[in-house]
Symmetry: D2
Amino acid sequence: MADTNVKTDELLALERRYCSFGDTVHYLEPPKVFVNCEGSYLYDEQGIPYLDLQMWYSAASFGYKNARLNEALKRQLERLPQLACQYLHAEKIEVAARIAQYCEKRFGVKGRVHFNVGGSQAIEDSLKVVRNYTGKNLAFAFMGGYHGRTLGASAITSSYRYRRRYGHFGDRAQFVPFPYCFRCFYGMKRATCNLYCADQFAKLFESEYHGVWDAREEGAEFGAFYIEAVQGTGGYAVPPQEYFARLKATCDRRKILLVDDEIQMGVYRTGKFWAIENFGITPDIIVFGKALTNGLNPLSGIWAREELIAPEVLPPGSTHSTFSSNTLGTAVALETLKMLEEEDYEKRVQEKGAYFLAGLRELQQRHPGVIGDVDGLGLALRIEICKEDGITPDRDLAGRIFAEGLKGSLEVGERKYGLVLDVGGYYKNVFTLAPAFTITREEMDLALELLDQLLGRCRN
Amino acid sequence: MADTNVKTDELLALERRYCSFGDTVHYLEPPKVFVNCEGSYLYDEQGIPYLDLQMWYSAASFGYKNARLNEALKRQLERLPQLACQYLHAEKIEVAARIAQYCEKRFGVKGRVHFNVGGSQAIEDSLKVVRNYTGKNLAFAFMGGYHGRTLGASAITSSYRYRRRYGHFGDRAQFVPFPYCFRCFYGMKRATCNLYCADQFAKLFESEYHGVWDAREEGAEFGAFYIEAVQGTGGYAVPPQEYFARLKATCDRRKILLVDDEIQMGVYRTGKFWAIENFGITPDIIVFGKALTNGLNPLSGIWAREELIAPEVLPPGSTHSTFSSNTLGTAVALETLKMLEEEDYEKRVQEKGAYFLAGLRELQQRHPGVIGDVDGLGLALRIEICKEDGITPDRDLAGRIFAEGLKGSLEVGERKYGLVLDVGGYYKNVFTLAPAFTITREEMDLALELLDQLLGRCRN
Amino acid sequence: MADTNVKTDELLALERRYCSFGDTVHYLEPPKVFVNCEGSYLYDEQGIPYLDLQMWYSAASFGYKNARLNEALKRQLERLPQLACQYLHAEKIEVAARIAQYCEKRFGVKGRVHFNVGGSQAIEDSLKVVRNYTGKNLAFAFMGGYHGRTLGASAITSSYRYRRRYGHFGDRAQFVPFPYCFRCFYGMKRATCNLYCADQFAKLFESEYHGVWDAREEGAEFGAFYIEAVQGTGGYAVPPQEYFARLKATCDRRKILLVDDEIQMGVYRTGKFWAIENFGITPDIIVFGKALTNGLNPLSGIWAREELIAPEVLPPGSTHSTFSSNTLGTAVALETLKMLEEEDYEKRVQEKGAYFLAGLRELQQRHPGVIGDVDGLGLALRIEICKEDGITPDRDLAGRIFAEGLKGSLEVGERKYGLVLDVGGYYKNVFTLAPAFTITREEMDLALELLDQLLGRCRN
Amino acid sequence: MADTNVKTDELLALERRYCSFGDTVHYLEPPKVFVNCEGSYLYDEQGIPYLDLQMWYSAASFGYKNARLNEALKRQLERLPQLACQYLHAEKIEVAARIAQYCEKRFGVKGRVHFNVGGSQAIEDSLKVVRNYTGKNLAFAFMGGYHGRTLGASAITSSYRYRRRYGHFGDRAQFVPFPYCFRCFYGMKRATCNLYCADQFAKLFESEYHGVWDAREEGAEFGAFYIEAVQGTGGYAVPPQEYFARLKATCDRRKILLVDDEIQMGVYRTGKFWAIENFGITPDIIVFGKALTNGLNPLSGIWAREELIAPEVLPPGSTHSTFSSNTLGTAVALETLKMLEEEDYEKRVQEKGAYFLAGLRELQQRHPGVIGDVDGLGLALRIEICKEDGITPDRDLAGRIFAEGLKGSLEVGERKYGLVLDVGGYYKNVFTLAPAFTITREEMDLALELLDQLLGRCRN
């Protein structure tokens, strides 16, 4: 393991003494140590493969150690591994141009790209663009939405748990029910609701006494609505097809910008380059990150419509970050974009997603009730673990399955396996699956087998 | 250039159309494109070397393409280039342990390390630690201080220009004069001031009517004081030796945490691992980033005293960032720390710094008045450009020198050179020099020669 | 007119030049000047009587120039008209004791009374009590709710119009639909809704991802819920009988204080001393003002449960206002309380209210559609002016009726009359009637006649 | 006592049980009960006269039970004691016109008057005017400044003690040292300082890195500077003659409005109608209250320059308060203004002030050291109680003197007396004297005698 010559037990002892627990480690006790990875697998110190169905929250969508992308990083290491972002290098410009050109082609709207590092910082940049353009600090966001953990991003992230320890948040968003139809906040049924939730949002603006609109001035108290087209942390719930068109119409009428957070769902996770393309609307701002570098670099950024981001509106010096368009990250991102142009990822992801979803539906048949819901868009898939009634969230069971998968003690054929899952959702009872786009049918079959074993082991 | 096959003119055209100008590019018009780097030099498309005296704002302190550190990155690329941060890998633990052990040795205080990506996000984490521990949103910070550009970091960064476009900042810091003695805010003289500025800060707490202290409850309205031991963006001003001891005594007495932002000055820039070590105090929190990976990865983090960051105080889930302790970044950081243990960087940096500073003082002799001040600590050096009176800031001249250096048209011997400078300071008239720790005496001599030429060309 | 010897035209000219229009005058152009008042009538300079159905937004509930209360003011003028509130006088204590004793009798809960001047300042004091006790800045409040116009009160007042001009409100409330069943925000019908709105509020706390609750800590992001039992400015809508019990149960379970704003509805306007008594719950804090002095003095205050306001929780110096428990105001308030003890106001107000409401229902019969809704509780009555469809708000018609009433050109018998109405409601189409408790059956009959005439004149 | 027939002991028992202690009562334990007042005297239940040197914090400047003003209140009680403020009455207009005309004559600037009740609410209105006009939430204010206790007013009031219990204040002012020369914050001496404090404030704008100014946009982060020309709660310190001209020049250059809080010092307390008239500058907004009605009604208001308050800038509906321009208050205020026009109050107050100040200086001679400072402007006078060194604040001694005065056990001639003092200042060691303008030479002599006795009794 590594060139550190330190054994796992010693490592864990050091960790307990010197590492903050404040990050997300220590959900499992003790935390799991991995030493190698390849394709769809992580490996522990015993060499046991763990089939990974969450691929670093969709950051490593193109598979661990993707040869082509690793090579791109190495090339840039030889050429121009470092450069202050006040100077230009080719790859930055190329990546920006390709993304902007793609958006122009898809949406018919001119725009520009702005880089940063880490999803939260790109969210912060989007907040700046919104505030600068609208003059307003406040935003709408979705219940179940997650946009990061800086203070600014926490203010628009739904879970109060992420804010509780940190004092008063003067820019806290107003949280609006997401069309999470399996558990409709309004208690409606999809078949008959006629998107009641979209109407409820529109209704906020019908009287100034609903609190957000001044009819005399035709102005809203809120500058933007932050969305994820498919919620990530919120549990990979897929909204009704027509929902976002209705929401966008209200936002446009009320002069509210729509900011589309594609950090987790962008770059083909849902079968389209941007997840929002599944829903037929054009956002005002797109925020991206994660998978663009396959996790090799925290490169992130935003695309915004020209009028929000033109140089005269957002002039030089408006934002800054030392590593914003760093050469290593942009080189990998450029290679990713080239790769995406050379193959039909839309088809690849949709086909694999359909195959996996079908398998999951069969699994649900075998575990009725306990698997309350199965759904997906592209390779963003969800399994919702419930009590026997098929609706009451079973957080404990989900937790046991998660932990059992990480023991590495499952067996298929003669081999031992582990299974890497991620637990999400409003009630922490949803497995949010984000397999590698390189996953094979055999690996998906194996995944279903391992899930079946885990369900068998953990249901009591 | 690159494997993009796009010429510079075309690149610049693409950039003007598709790139946001909101970052710091376009300070120079058109922005400068670089295609290669090595040691202390950047190279343009004509192959002209630009001696770099600012090394990416101190992010690439160990020289461009440092072979050992590049190699560490490549090794990790082969081994474990990707891993969700909820799982552990050896290098993360090793880096945390080494930093915490170093702090324990130096300061005699136990603590823990917490990772993130990008300096601003580490600052945000420190704000969370402060708010969680003190229950207070407000902080003191220095005039001239710079801590990043997220909304939270902007609130404690002095320049109002960084906030102006972005609405109301409800957590704006109270800014306190930094001991920038060349331009004392209080108009005092160092020889006779007896650290008047430190007394003025202490005086804030003498009456509740000074606005920050409730004597009945013995509590302050402010939870922390954010400092840079030597200000980065503020112009590399070196405070009097005794200043921070006085400041810390007041903070301790008034229950205000001292957060030491070492993002730019940490990792030996000032001749000590932490810049604050030059001043004999123990901060409550240290924030670090940049040079720890020599710019190969935006890894950043904080160290905090045990009572602020122990698991029961800051439990799992308190913060999170996808890339927080990413494997590539921690692998390079670990190699950096090993390298630092194998050689006496304190001596190396101090000796080179002394040599360079001596040269700068000679340069000042040749350009009296125009070089109003020259100073430095380790390899953090400053040249303050003034009018003939030796005190009035000459921002225009500093700008002309900066632009002229980037033309690549200086000549020494038979060769053409450029000079990469960075302009900082309260009046944008200070060259803040952060040369590579690998800079040679010959390169320093060359730098002085190039500076002399530039001064000759640009003074009119 | 007055001893000012200035004619009305001159007065209006002076007003246009020297008076701010920022207060609510100039809704009518030119504003109406009155010179005398008596019982239920205001008089203009021609001596024309205007039957007043709104009695200064319920501040003069006991009739203009109520002899007993005027006399109390005069007595105090002779005795102790001025006294700094750091000293005590008997009436202050008597008023506080009687209110606290009344609450203890009605609610079975010990508490204390705290004075201020003006409803908004009492609201501000309640905000302080909430923040001090809960440590939280944020509150829930109702859509349609109105609590005053200081910055703090505006933050919890629903209409964005009251905030729009005044920058960012970092403590803005989250506004929850009020059970205004004639126009249910959720589009439900009262007969079948089972208080869906109360359930929706409870649902906010079911998942941390709904944005307000941290289940791990069992804590909410909001410290209080501000209510008016019957909304004043919101249009005198009367909620379903069981609503507040359901709301209070949720608040109790989620540790959210219920603050009952009785400024407009308290002191028997709804037939009970406190309007909330109609709904069978005990609030944590009550805010009162207006009618307690019959408009002779802005005395206001709060009652709060002992644990929120005991001296050790809210010690001396926690708040202050020069005029807070001024001797003139407390003397009148004491007389009011004595008067209320001597007669059965519950019966008086309920009987008159029933008579008036019956008349209004007849009026509705004669103007079907246009009078979309008529309702009331005690002598808080509402007439909602609609289009012919009986539901679309007709703001213009309401405005025309209001203006026509102020012309003083209605005729009954041989006499000219005016009618003073107040327009409120979410769509400014509701006449909110607050007649004097001294109004006679003859005056109510006259009011119905005048309303009928106005409707006849103004419908086109 | 009163018509309440309750004895003092019973009253105190009721008070302890039913009254909040959160207001300023209970500074003395038990609080003092008064039952009558007349001229310069308060009377307790034994009929002992207490010479009042603080006249309800300057609210009752024209003497208790001033016959003319009491009569004006009674007249309005007979005529028009109640009227909703959306209708006009003559006295409101007359008062507004007279104040605006006075300001126009004195300052050469057109403006308008806007009413409210209570000083804090007028301050809130001024905050609204500032925010509306400048678009900025933040303000400068003075250390030692006091502007009220609503949340908005507390944010610009210096003492942190007034904010501590109430959570985060997102609009907290930046507090600037007041020219309180006896205890210069900067440690300067008036004779040689050349108004160093004014220069320090101007210096804040010299570099964007001082935190408040963006030179590129020529804009400040702060919309207004709130001042009291002579600080009230801060201890009646009189600033150097030239100070405010210097401050105003900086404010004008930096586009910062100057808001002059005259609530305590206005209406001739300092010998001029507005205290600021002593200093030769024109404020942008004036806030007034207290003495305008001699404490008979909490009428308050603001005057603002036309461009800040013209109807098109601050249209109808911008603010509102039920009691804002109530008929009783405006009637008394109008009588006050007439009275002020009929006699030379400037001369009267200045002469009495000079006589009293001379007496206080003699008293200081008799108690050197202990009376560290004596000063005054008009009838706003100060006595600063110190240790023997003449500078260390002696809060305890001040407190003992205050309490002893309220015992009513002093004797002059054959009579028993009490003395009513008010303790203020940054260290609660200053007697801030605000005697009635009707005080006689004999009463001033008596005051000096009583002070001398108290000092004799309480120094140990």
